[in-house]
C-alpha cells in the first residue's frame, strides 16, 4: 500500500514537474508567468483534441498516438508562450496581468474544447489511454499510472538543468533573466532568448496538463483540477530554488501531499482520518505546506537562492 502511495505520488508529481520545469525556464528568462495554469489547460486540451480526432479517424497505432498527442500538446502550449512573449516582450505589457488574463483564457479554452470533445456518452480521447501506459502496467499492480510521460518528465527536467547550468546557451539565458541590459550590451539577442525560453517553457508546462489526464487521472471530468495543479507548480519553483533537478524531488513530495486525502486514511489507522470531515482537511495539506515552506525559505534568506534579479520586469533598451 505504501508502495502504491509512492508510485501514485510519482505519477502525479510529474504533472508538477512539467509545470515547474517550464516555469523555471520562463523565469530564468526574467518572466514571471502567472499564466502557467492556463497554459497547462491549453496543453491538455491540445493533446486531447489531437487524440480525439486520431481515434475518431481510426488511427490506433500506439506509437503514433503518443507522438502526435505529445507534439500537439506541446505546440498548443508553445503558442500560448508566444502570445505571452508578444505581449510582455514586444508590447511591454505588465507580466502579472498578462499571466492572469492567460489563465482566464486558457481555462475557458480548455473547458470549451473538452466540452466539444464529448461524443454522446463516450470520450474518444480516453481510448488512447492504454497507448500512454506501458504494456506491463495493467490496472492491478502499483505501476498502473506509470507511462511514457513520467519518464519524459524526468528526462526533460534533467536536460533542462544541464542546459541551464552547463552550457553557454544556459549562461546566456540566465544573464538575460538576471540583467537584460548587461546581456544586451554583451551582444546577446535578448528578445530572441526571451521569446524562445518563454515559449519552450510554456510548451513543457503544457505537457503537464496532458500528463495529468493521460497518465494519472484518465477520467472524464479530471481536467477540471488542472488549474489548481498549475498554481502549485508555480509555487514549486520557489522550493526548487530555480533548479529543475531539485524540482524532481519537490514534485514527488507535492504529489504525495496532493493525493494524501486518498491514501493517508488507509495508511494511518487513526479514527478521525476515517471520517468524512477529514477529507477536505487532508486536501488542504499541499497548500498549507506550501505556505509553511514559503515562509521558512523567506526567513532563511540567501543570495544564491534568490529569484533572477530581472524577474517580472520588462526590458526596453532605450530606457533612460
Amino acid at each position: 500500500m505504501i508502495l502504491d502511495y509512492i508510485l501514485n505520488a510519482i505519477a502525479i508529481g510529474m504533472t508538477f514537474l512539467y509545470g515547474s520545469t517550464g516555469e523555471i525556464i520562463t523565469e530564468k528568462a526574467g518572466h514571471l508567468n502567472l499564466g502557467i495554469p492556463g497554459v497547462m489547460c491549453v496543453g491538455a486540451a491540445g493533446g486531447c483534441a489531437a487524440l480525439h480526432y486520431m481515434i475518431v479517424g481510426g488511427i490506433t497505432n500506439g506509437f503514433l498516438l503518443v507522438l502526435v498527442g505529445i507534439l500537439a500538446s506541446f505546440i498548443a502550449a508553445f503558442l500560448m508562450g508566444m502570445l505571452f512573449s508578444f505581449l510582455a516582450v514586444t508590447l511591454h505589457a505588465n507580466q502579472n496581468v498578462t499571466g492572469l488574463a492567460m489563465t482566464t483564457f486558457g481555462v475557458g479554452l480548455m473547458k470549451y474544447i473538452m466540452f466539444g470533445l464529448k461524443e454522446g456518452n463516450s470520450i474518444p480521447y480516453l481510448k488512447a489511454l492504454s497507448a500512454f501506459r506501458f504494456p506491463f502496467a495493467d490496472q492491478t499492480n502499483g505501476l498502473k499510472y506509470c507511462g511514457v510521460m513520467v519518464f519524459l518528465a524526468l528526462i526533460i527536467a534533467l536536460l533542462s538543468s544541464f542546459v541551464l547550468f552547463k552550457t553557454k546557451v544556459g549562461l546566456h539565458l540566465r544573464a538575460v533573466g538576471e540583467n537584460p541590459a548587461t546581456a544586451d550590451a554583451a551582444g546577446i539577442n535578448v528578445t530572441l532568448y526571451k521569446y524562445l525560453a518563454t515559449s519552450i517553457g510554456c510548451g513543457i508546462s503544457g505537457l503537464g496538463g496532458l500528463c495529468y489526464i493521460m497518465d494519472y487521472a484518465g477520467s472524464r471530468e479530471s481536467y477540471l483540477s488542472i488549474e489548481a495543479l498549475g498554481w502549485l507548480a508555480v509555487a514549486l519553483v520557489i522550493f526548487a530554488l530555480w533548479r529543475p533537478h531539485l524540482s524532481i524531488v519537490g514534485s514527488v513530495i507535492f504529489g504525495a501531499l496532493f493525493i494524501a486525502g486518498q491514501f493517508i486514511p488507509t495508511l494511518v489507522p487513526l479514527k478521525f482520518l476515517q471520517t468524512m470531515t477529514a477529507a477536505p482537511l487532508l486536501k488542504m495539506l499541499p497548500y498549507v505546506v506550501t505556505i509553511i515552506v514559503l515562509t521558512v525559505t523567506s526567513i532563511r534568506d540567501k543570495k544564491e537562492n534568490h529569484p533572477p534579479q530581472g524577474l517580472g520586469l520588462n526590458y526596453y533598451r532605450e530606457e533612460r
Binding site: T167, A175, T182, D184, A185, A186
Partner: protein, 523 residues
C-alpha cells in the same frame, strides 16, 4: 598625420521625444590614439557613444569603420566591428563569476568550457598588468575590480576601438593613474581609445586629442598639446566662466552634532561603520570623501535615523536651548518630533528623496503631510511651497503638477534641495548633490550650500570630485572601508593627500583620533 582612421561619424543625430540629444555630430578617431570626449553632463556624450556601441540607434547619420560605412543595430554588431564599450554603470551580472561575465555573449562556435576561459583571462591579466581572480563572483568585488572585469571583457573579444564612459568617477587618484597607464599601453598596442569625461585635468594628462561637445553638438576637436583648461571650459560651456567657488570663513562655529564611536554591520557581517567619531559645527561645511561605498551612505542614514547602529552615540545640540538630544535609534519621525531640524538630500534622488511619478506638489508634501490631526491631506501649503521653489530656484517645468520624473537631472535636484532647505534646517546633509548636473546647476547647488552655511547651518557634504571638496569645504573627513582615515583642513590640503587617505585600509584607530585632533585644531 599618417595614422589611419579607425572610426568616423558623419552627421549623426539622435532625439528622445522632443529632446535633441545629438545634432549632426561629425567625429574622427585614429588608430593608436586616445581621444577625450569632453562635455558637460547632459551634453550627449554618452548618447553618442551608445550609438557607436549599438545601444541606441541613430535617427540620422552615417558611421564608418576602417573607411567603410557600417550599420550598428545592436551591441552584437558593434562587436563585429571590434568596438567595445565600458559603461559607466557596469554591465555585469552580479551572481556570475568574472569569467562567466567575460565570456557572456561570445559566439565563437567553441565548446563552452569555463576552465579555458579562466586561463585566457589570466593571460590577458598578465599582458596588461591586471590582478583579478577569474572565479570571484561580481557581488563580492570592489568597484575598481568590477571595472577591471569590464576592461578585460572588451579586450577578451579583441576590440580595437575602446570606449570608456567616465571611468575615473569611481576611482581614487592613484587608481586613476594606474588605469591611465593601462590605457597608454593599449594605445601603444595600436588601439583607438575614446574616453568620456568632464574632468579637465584628466583630459590634459591622458589624451592625444580632445573632442568637445556642447548641447548635443560637436564644437571642435583640438590637439591636447595646444589646449588649456580655460580654453576647453569655454568651449564646453559656451561662455567665459570662472571656476572658483567662494569659501567664506565660518562665523562663530559651535558644536551642533557630535558623533561618538559609531559602529554598524551589514546582514552579511561586514563592518559598514567602524568606530566613527567626529563633530559637525554650525556655520561650516564638513566634507566627506572616500571611494564609493566606504560607509558614506550608512553614516548619513545613521544620522537621519534610517540605519540601525550596533554601538555609538549621536548627540544633537539644540541651538535654541542648548539641550543635548540623543538621536541614536530614533526614527525620522521621532527625530522631527524632538524638534531637531535635520534635512537630508540623499544620493538616490528619484528612488529615495523624491517619488518620480508624483508631481512637484505631492513631492513637497512628503516631508510635511503628517502635520495636523486631520485625516485628510492639506494640499494648499505644499502648493504654495512648490510655486515658491519653482520661482526662486528657476526650475524649468511646465507647472507644479508635472511629475518630477519628467524634469531634467538638474531641476530634479533643485526640487529636492529646495524642499529640504525650505524647512529652515539646522543640520543639512547632502550626498553627491551635484552628480550628473551640468556646470550651471552645480554652481547653483554650491551657492545654496554656502547660503545655508552663512545662516549658521551645519552642512555635511558628501562628494566625489576631490577638486570641489577641497575648494568648497572647511574640513574634510576621509572614509575608507567604514573607518575614518583622516580629518583634514580643506584650506591646507591637497587632492593627493586625500587620495592616499582614501586607500589607507590599515589605519589604526589612534591614527584617526590623532587626525581628528589635528583637524579640530585646524578648524
Amino acid at each position: 598625420m599618417e595614422k589611419s582612421i579607425a572610426l568616423e561619424l558623419r552627421g549623426v543625430t539622435k532625439t528622445f521625444g522632443k529632446v535633441i540629444a545629438n545634432n549632426n555630430v561629425d567625429l574622427t578617431v585614429y588608430k593608436g590614439e586616445i581621444l577625450s570626449i569632453l562635455g558637460e553632463n547632459g551634453c550627449g556624450k554618452t548618447t553618442l557613444m551608445n550609438m557607436i556601441s549599438g545601444i541606441y540607434y541613430p535617427d540620422k547619420g552615417q558611421i564608418f569603420v576602417d573607411g567603410r560605412e557600417v550599420v550598428i543595430r545592436s551591441p552584437k554588431d558593434a562587436f563585429g566591428y571590434k568596438i567595445g564599450m565600458i559603461h559607466q554603470h557596469f554591465k555585469l551580472v552580479d551572481v556570475f563569476s568574472a569569467s562567466e561575465n567575460i565570456v557572456l555573449g561570445i559566439d565563437d562556435g567553441k565548446k563552452y568550457n569555463i576552465k579555458d576561459v579562466n586561463n585566457r583571462v589570466l593571460e590577458i591579466c598578465e599582458r596588461y598588468g591586471f590582478n583579478i581572480d577569474p572565479k570571484k563572483k561580481i557581488y563580492e568585488m570592489s568597484v575598481s575590480e568590477k571595472q577591471t572585469v569590464e576592461i578585460i571583457k572588451v579586450l577578451y573579444r579583441g576590440a580595437d576601438i575602446l570606449i570608456l564612459d567616465e571611468p575615473t568617477a569611481v576611482l581614487t587618484p592613484q587608481e586613476t593613474e594606474k588605469l591611465f597607464d593601462v590605457l597608454r599601453r593599449m594605445r601603444d598596442d595600436g588601439k583607438a581609445i575614446m574616453i568620456i569625461t568632464h574632468k579637465l585635468h584628466e583630459v590634459l594628462s591622458v589624451s592625444d586629442r580632445v573632442a568637445v561637445l556642447r548641447r548635443g553638438e560637436h564644437i571642435a576637436t583640438v590637439e591636447t598639446a595646444t589646449a588649456t583648461e580655460s580654453m576647453l571650459t569655454e568651449m564646453m560651456v559656451g561662455k567665459k566662466v570662472t571656476l572658483n567657488i567662494d569659501r567664506l570663513d565660518p562665523v562663530s562655529p559651535c558644536e551642533r552634532l557630535v558623533l561618538e564611536g559609531l559602529n554598524c554591520t551589514s546582514h552579511e557581517g561586514i563592518k559598514l561603520l567602524d568606530n566613527i567619531s567626529f563633530t559637525a559645527r554650525s556655520g561650516e561645511i564638513l566634507g566627506i570623501a572616500g571611494i564609493a561605498g566606504s560607509g558614506q551612505r550608512e553614516l548619513l542614514e545613521a544620522i537621519a535615523g534610517l540605519q540601525h547602529l550596533d554601538e555609538g552615540t549621536i548627540t544633537y545640540k539644540n541651538p535654541k536651548n542648548g539641550e543635548d538630544v540623543n538621536l541614536r535609534d530614533k526614527t525620522p519621525l521621532q527625530i522631527r518630533d524632538l524638534g531637531v531640524r535635520l534635512s537630508f538630500v540623499p544620493e538616490d534622488r528619484l528612488g529615495m528623496g523624491l517619488v518620480g511619478n508624483m508631481d512637484i506638489i505631492d513631492n513637497m508634501m512628503l516631508r510635511s503631510y503628517k502635520r495636523g490631526a486631520s485625516m485628510f491631506l492639506d494640499r494648499k501649503a505644499p502648493k504654495d511651497l512648490a510655486k515658491n521653489i519653482i520661482q526662486s530656484l528657476e526650475i524649468a517645468t511646465p507647472g507644479a503638477t508635472t511629475p518630477v520624473r519628467r524634469l531634467s537631472g538638474g531641476n530634479v535636484q533643485k526640487v529636492l534641495v529646495g524642499r529640504e532647505i525650505s524647512s529652515a534646517p539646522s543640520v543639512l546633509m547632502a550626498a553627491y548633490p551635484v552628480r550628473g548636473l551640468d556646470i550651471g546647476s552645480s554652481y547653483t547647488i554650491y551657492n545654496l550650500l554656502n547660503d545655508q552655511k552663512a545662516r549658521g547651518v551645519a552642512v555635511i557634504f558628501v562628494g566625489e570630485d576631490l577638486d570641489v571638496l577641497v575648494e568648497l569645504c572647511d574640513r574634510i573627513i576621509v572614509l575608507a572601508s567604514g573607518k575614518i582615515t583622516g580629518i583634514v583642513d580643506a584650506r591646507n590640503t591637497t587632492k593627493e593627500e586625500i587620495g592616499l587617505l582614501m586607500t589607507k585600509s590599515t589605519s589604526i584607530s589612534e591614527d584617526a583620533e590623532k587626525a581628528a585632533k589635528e583637524g579640530s585644531e585646524n578648524g
